[in-house]
Subunit: 159 residues, 2 copies
């Protein structure tokens, strides 16, 4: 019971914040997304691509399968906004955002309670034995925080 | 054991993010804090005051005592940046930030594991009976996200 309660606390928060950011991206026009969040800083498009890439990467990190689109990570995480040579159109990015979030929703629904407390794929068996908090659910806690960090930036594009 | 593990996951994340924001505020000069995070948006000073006020409010919300400085909530949560008539100096705010975070650290250390799963003070007994996830630990999850939302903004003041 306790375990289920804790999983609910973490996943409810993730879903609420993900839906909030989804609403925010939907409210912003392509023109608004092309703007920088502050002078000399990332554009909204970059942050949209960045969030898709990070959500994509959660699939293998949580041991839930293969990444849908590994190229996005190279473009929107490994490369800085100003250094990107070629990027998908905003229309394509909006589709990718929807696609990965549906994929995550479907995958998460199949994870059994005990599995959330198993190790994620960026920690070794040895380290996990000593640090059992480095489990899959902790990835969700961290990714929710990362999402909010950037949501606080994307919101600056609103008029 | 499980309960202690959840608590560690949540409090470790809170402490990591709080320390990160503390480091960020310390790196920013008073002059940098006086600037707006983006044209027409909140100043760094306002966000510093806002975070202090929110952290202050956590004390009564978690049933850990009285708010240290209730005036800050009126100034930095109930009032918009541009509408504030009188605000504490940056020097005073930096002291208040340190003070409330030490206070929270001391208070949190005294909370027993079971208490984290009790209701916080903004939910009724009746609602809590139906929604046991609205507990004190959930407040920490939410406040960590709120902190990261604004950390993503404060970081824009860095050169």
């Amino acid at each position: 019971m306790e375990k289920e309660l804790f999983i609910k606390m973490v996943l409810d928060t993730w879903n609420t914040k993900l839906n909030g950011l989804d609403k925010l991206f939907a409210e912003l026009s392509d023109e608004q997304l092309k703007k920088q969040i502050a002078p000399g800083k990332n554009t909204g498009v970059y942050l949209l691509g960045h969030m898709i890439a990070i959500n994509n990467k959660m699939v293998p990190l949580l041991g839930l399968g293969e990444e849908l689109n590994p190229d996005l990570y190279k473009t929107f995480v490994d490369t800085a906004d100003m250094d990107i040579v070629e990027r998908p159109s905003i229309t394509v990015l909006r589709q990718e955002w929807k696609k990965i979030n549906e994929e995550l929703g479907n995958k998460f629904a199949q994870v059994q309670p005990d599995e959330w407390f198993q190790k994620h794929n960026s920690v070794s068996e040895q380290d996990f034995a000593k640090e059992p908090h480095r489990n899959k659910l902790n990835v969700i806690i961290n990714r929710t925080n990362h999402l909010e960090y950037h949501a606080g930036q994307v919101v600056l594009l609103k008029i």
